[in-house]
C-alpha cells in the first residue's frame, strides 16, 4: 500500500463525515435557490451555536466512553436560573429574586457546576453507570426548572448574557463567536494538555490507564463537570437567543448534541475522535436542518427524512471505521 493510501485510511474518521457534509451541501445547493447564500451560511452557524457549546462538553464525555443525558436539562436549569435572579417585568408572575447581573450569572454557573459535581460523584464515587445517573439528573433538572418558573415564562436576563446570546459585532452574532471559542478551547485542551491525553487514554483502555497510575475517577469526574459547565453556558446564552426562559425549552438539544458528536465520527466506545469531528458533525446537522426548510417537500415528511439521513451518515461512519480497523 502506498503512503498516500495509508494516510487516507488513517484519516477516514474525519474524511467520511466530511464527504457526507460536502454531499449534503452540494445537494441542497442544487435543489434550492435560497440555500447557497452567505446570509444562509450565517443562519446555519447561528442555529448550531447553542448545540455546539453543549457538544464541546459532550465530546469530552463520549471520548471517555461515557454519556451525559442531562446536558439539555442542565442547560435549561441554568438558563432559567439566570433569569430567576434577574429583575423581570411586572407582568411576569414568578416569585423571583432579583440580583445584580454578575451575581445572577455567577449563581447560575455555580448551579450548573453543582449539578455536574452531583453527576460526577454519583458516577465515580458511588459507581452508578453514567447512562443511569445522568438520566436521573435529567429528571432532577426538569424538576428544578418546573419549581423555579411554575409554568410561567421569564424574559429578562443580565445584560452580558443578553449581549453574548443575542448581540452582534460587525454583523457577526456573539453567539457564534462564543461557540467558536468553546470549540477552539476544547480542541486545545484535548490536543495539547496532559488532561486531554488522559481523556483519550481513559477512553481507549480504562483499565490500562488505571494500571499506568492515571487517576481515572478524577478524569471521569472532571469531564462530567466540564460537560455540565458547557451546558450551563449554552443554556444561559440560549435563553437570551430565544428571548425567553421556560420549561422544556432545550429538550431537542440533547439528541442534537449527541448526534453532532457521533455523526462527526467520534466513537461511542471512547478514545477516538475529537473536536474536529464534532465541528463537522455540527455542520452536517445544521445543513440538514436548515436545508430541508429550503426545499419543497411535505413538512411532515421532513422529520422522517432527517432521521433517515442521520442513520445513513452513521452507517457510513461505522462502515468506514471497520475498513480502517481491519486493514
Amino acid at each position: 500500500m502506498t503512503a498516500m493510501a495509508v494516510f487516507l485510511r488513517n484519516q477516514m474518521r474525519i474524511i467520511a463525515p466530511f464527504a457526507t457534509l460536502i454531499v449534503l451541501v452540494a445537494f441542497f445547493s442544487l435543489t434550492s435557490r435560497s440555500f447557497a447564500s452567505l446570509d444562509n451560511a450565517a443562519n446555519i452557524l447561528t442555529q448550531i451555536s447553542v448545540t455546539g457549546i453543549i457538544a464541546v462538553g459532550l465530546t469530552f464525555v463520549i471520548l471517555c466512553a461515557e454519556i451525559d443525558l442531562s446536558v439539555a436539562a442542565i442547560a435549561n436549569v441554568t438558563g432559567i436560573a439566570v433569569a430567576y435572579f434577574t429583575l423581570q417585568e411586572g407582568y411576569v408572575n414568578i416569585a423571583n429574586v432579583p440580583l445584580p447581573g454578575f451575581a445572577a450569572i455567577l449563581l447560575a454557573l455555580l448551579g450548573c457546576f453543582m449539578l455536574g459535581v452531583v453527576n460526577a460523584a454519583g458516577i465515580t464515587l458511588i459507581g452508578i453507570p453514567s447512562f443511569i445517573m445522568t438520566l436521573a439528573m435529567m429528571q432532577i433538572g426538569a424538576g428544578i426548572c418546573a419549581l423555579l418558573v411554575r409554568g410561567q415564562i421569564a424574559y429578562a436576563v443580565p445584560d452580558l448574557v443578553s449581549l453574548l446570546g443575542a448581540g452582534r459585532v460587525m454583523g457577526i452574532p456573539y453567539l457564534v463567536l462564543v461557540a467558536a471559542a468553546f470549540l477552539l478551547a476544547g480542541h486545545l485542551v484535548l490536543t495539547y494538555t496532559r488532561f486531554g491525553r488522559y481523556v483519550y487514554m481513559v477512553g481507549g483502555n480504562r483499565e490500562a490507564a488505571e494500571y499506568a497510575g492515571v487517576n481515572v475517577k478524577l478524569v471521569l469526574g472532571t469531564v462530567i463537570v466540564i460537560s455540565a459547565m458547557c451546558s450551563g453556558v449554552a443554556g444561559m446564552l440560549g435563553v437570551a437567543h430565544f428571548g425567553s426562559a421556560q420549561q422544556n425549552e432545550f429538550d431537542g438539544y440533547l439528541l442534537d448534541a449527541i448526534a453532532a458528536v457521533v455523526v462527526g465520527g467520534t466513537s461511542l466506545f471512547g478514545g477516538r475522535g475529537g473536536i474536529g469531528n464534532t465541528i463537522i458533525g455540527l455542520l452536517i446537522l445544521g445543513v440538514l436542518n436548515n436545508g430541508l426548510d429550503h426545499i419543497q417537500i411535505d413538512s411532515f415528511l421532513k422529520i422522517l427524512i432527517r432521521g433517515l439521513i442521520l442513520l445513513a451518515a452513521l452507517i457510513i461512519n461505522v462502515y468506514v471505521q471497520k475498513v480502517r480497523d481491519s486493514a
Binding site: T193, A209, Y211, V214
Partner: protein
C-alpha cells in the same frame, strides 16, 4: 491383525498463521482410541493453536483433519462438540450460582411437560458423577466447591454432552497434589472407557505421570512424539526449549541457588495485610536490589495481593510502607506517586492497542515531562531510548502498539516504568504467554532493574517464572504465606510441595 480402525482424530499438514506470523507449520498429529496424549511446549509453541483448531475455535487453517477417518472442518465449537470433541479450559466455564446437577446438564436439562424435571436431573447427575468416581452432592451450589471439584464437574459435563475426545488445558495448574491424584484417577477411568484425552500442561512431571504418549512443540513445529515410558524430564526440556538456554533450563530442572541481600534497606514493607476473602495476614519485606518471588497455585490470592499492593484493591487490614513512609493506597495514582509500579498479568489490561508505542510508554510519566502541557518531542525522545535499549521491533516509536508481537508488547509495558525508575516494581505473571527468547529478554530487563537498586516483587503461578527471576521466594497458599525460601537452593518440586 484383522483391521486397523481409523484413529478417532487425525490431522495432516496443519498450518496456521496470524497476520503473517506462522503459529503452526505443517503439523501432523494423531490421537488414538483410549489414549491420554500429553502435549508440551513453551508458550507460543503452537499447542494451544492446534487445540483451538481441533475444538473449532479457529476455522481458518491449511491442512486436513479427520474424525474416525471422515474428513471434517469445524468452523465453530458447536460443530466440534457435535462431532464428539470437548474442551475443558484452564479458566473454567462453570456457572457458580447453579447447582452441580444443573451444571452437569447445562443446556440440556431433562423436562417433563415443558418444566425442568428436577428429580431426574439430580438422579442422573448423581449416577453420572458416580460412574466417573466423583463423590459430590449434585444439589450443592457449584460456587461453594473447591476449584478441583469444579474442574472435575466441568469434565463430567463435557463427557456427558457426548464428547469422545476431551482436551484438557493446564488441568493441574490450580490443583493441590491430592487433587491432582484424584483427577488422574478420573482420567484413567475415562481412558478405560475407550475415550481419548489430550492433556496440555507446563507441569512436565504431571504429563509424564498420566500420559501414554507425549508430543513436543517448539516454534510452531511438532518436534517429536514419543511413548511416555521411554523418556524423562530432561529429554523433554531439551526438546522444548532448544539449545543454548542453560539459564532457563536450570529453572525447569530446579535447584536454583537463592542469594538474598539481607543488608540492603527495606523498600517495601507489608505487615498483616488482608483483603476480603482473598488473603489475610500477609507480611513481607522487599529490600532494595532484590527480587522477591511469590509463588502459589491459581486462586491462592496472588492476583488480589498484587492489586492491593498497587492500590487497585483496598486492603481491609494491615499496613504498608514504601521507602520507610507508611502508605495505605486508595487509588493506583496514589500508589504510583509513592513509588510503586505495577505490570498486571494481562497485556490487554495495561496497553493501548490503538495508540502509538510512544504514547504507551509516556502515559505513566506525563506529569514529570510537563505539568499542564504535553511535550510530544520529549515523549518521543524518551521512547526512542527505550526502544533502542530494549531492542523493540520494529524500532520506531510511531508504530501502533497493536501491530507489535506479544514479546515486544510486554517490553513496551515494562518500558513505561523505566524512565523514572520506581522504588518498587510489582510484576504479576511477567512471562506468561511468551516464547523463550522474549522470556529471556524479560529476565534480563528485570535483573537489570534489580541491579540498579529497585525492589522487585514477582508474583506467579508458574514455578519456572519465579525460579528464573527471584532471589528469595515466599509461597502462598489459600491466601496466606506458608513458607519462605532464602539463602539456599530450591527446586521446582520443593516449591510445589510447599504450595
Amino acid at each position: 491383525m484383522t483391521e486397523e480402525a481409523a484413529p478417532p482424530l487425525e490431522l495432516r499438514g496443519i498450518s496456521k498463521s496470524f497476520g503473517g506470523v506462522a503459529a503452526l507449520r505443517d503439523v501432523d498429529f494423531v490421537l488414538r482410541r483410549g489414549e491420554i496424549h500429553g502435549l508440551v511446549g513453551e508458550n507460543g509453541a503452537g499447542k494451544s493453536t492446534l487445540m483451538k483448531i481441533i475444538a473449532g475455535l479457529h476455522g481458518q487453517y491449511d491442512g486436513r483433519m479427520a474424525i474416525d477417518g471422515r474428513p471434517v472442518h469445524f468452523r465453530s465449537p458447536r460443530e466440534a462438540l457435535a462431532a464428539g470433541i470437548g474442551m475443558v479450559h484452564q479458566e473454567l466455564s462453570v456457572v457458580p450460582d447453579l447447582t452441580v446437577a444443573e451444571n452437569v446438564y447445562l443446556g440440556q436439562q431433562p423436562t417433563r411437560g415443558g418444566i425442568v424435571d428436577w428429580r431426574a436431573m439430580v438422579d442422573g447427575a448423581r449416577r453420572h458423577l458416580a460412574d466417573l468416581g466423583i463423590d459430590v452432592d449434585p444439589r450443592a451450589r457449584m460456587g461453594s466447591l473447591a476449584i478441583g471439584l469444579q474442574q472435575l464437574i466441568e469434565l463430567a459435563r463435557v463427557l456427558f454432552s457426548g464428547a469422545r475426545i476431551v482436551i484438557l488445558d493446564e488441568p493441574t495448574s490450580a490443583l493441590s497434589p491430592p487433587e491432582v491424584q484424584r483427577l488422574f484417577e478420573v482420567l484413567r477411568g475415562v481412558r478405560a472407557s475407550g475415550r481419548s484425552i489430550v492433556f496440555i500442561s507446563h507441569f512436565l512431571d504431571d504429563v509424564l505421570a498420566i500420559s501414554d504418549t507425549v508430543t513436543i512443540f517448539r516454534n510452531g513445529r511438532l518436534i517429536a512424539t514419543e511413548a511416555a515410558g521411554a523418556i524423562d524430564k530432561g529429554w523433554l526440556i531439551q526438546r522444548m526449549i532448544g539449545r543454548g538456554h542453560e539459564e532457563l533450563e536450570g529453572s525447569y530442572i530446579g535447584a536454583i541457588a537463592l542469594d538474598s541481600r539481607a543488608d540492603a534497606p527495606v523498600v517495601l514493607g507489608v505487615h498483616g495485610l488482608a483483603a476480603g476473602r482473598a488473603f489475610a495476614d500477609v507480611s513481607l519485606d522487599v529490600r532494595a536490589g532484590e527480587v522477591l518471588g511469590i509463588y502459589g497455585f491459581m486462586g491462592c490470592g496472588l492476583i488480589e495481593l498484587a492489586r492491593t499492593l498497587f492500590g487497585k484493591l483496598r486492603a481491609d487490614a494491615g499496613t504498608m510502607s514504601v521507602g520507610g513512609k507508611s502508605l495505605r493506597p486508595r487509588s493506583t495514582a496514589e500508589a504510583c506517586r509513592a513509588g510503586i509500579a505495577f505490570v498486571p498479568e494481562s497485556r490487554r489490561s495495561m496497553l493501548f492497542y490503538g495508540e502509538p508505542v510512544y504514547k504507551n510508554m509516556s502515559i505513566s510519566v506525563l506529569g514529570r515531562i510537563g505539568r499542564m502541557l504535553l511535550r510530544p518531542s520529549v515523549e518521543k525522545d524518551i521512547a526512542r531510548r527505550h526502544v533502542q535499549s530494549l531492542s523493540i521491533r520494529p524500532p520506531t516509536v510511531e508504530t501502533l502498539l497493536g501491530s507489535l508481537s506479544g514479546g515486544n508488547q510486554q517490553k513496551v509495558a515494562l518500558a513505561k516504568w523505566l524512565t523514572w525508575p520506581p522504588k518498587v516494581l510489582v510484576l504479576s505473571e511477567p512471562t506468561r504467554g511468551m516464547d523463550v527468547g522474549a522470556k529471556e529478554d524479560v529476565v534480563r530487563i528485570v535483573k537489570g532493574l534489580r541491579d540498579q537498586g529497585m525492589g522487585v516483587v514477582v508474583l506467579s503461578t508458574e514455578p519456572e517464572t519465579v525460579l528464573s527471576l527471584a532471589d528469595r521466594i515466599v509461597v502462598m497458599k489459600k491466601g496466606r504465606i506458608v513458607h519462605e525460601f532464602a539463602g539456599q537452593t530450591v527446586s521446582k518440586d520443593q516449591l510445589l510441595e510447599a504450595a
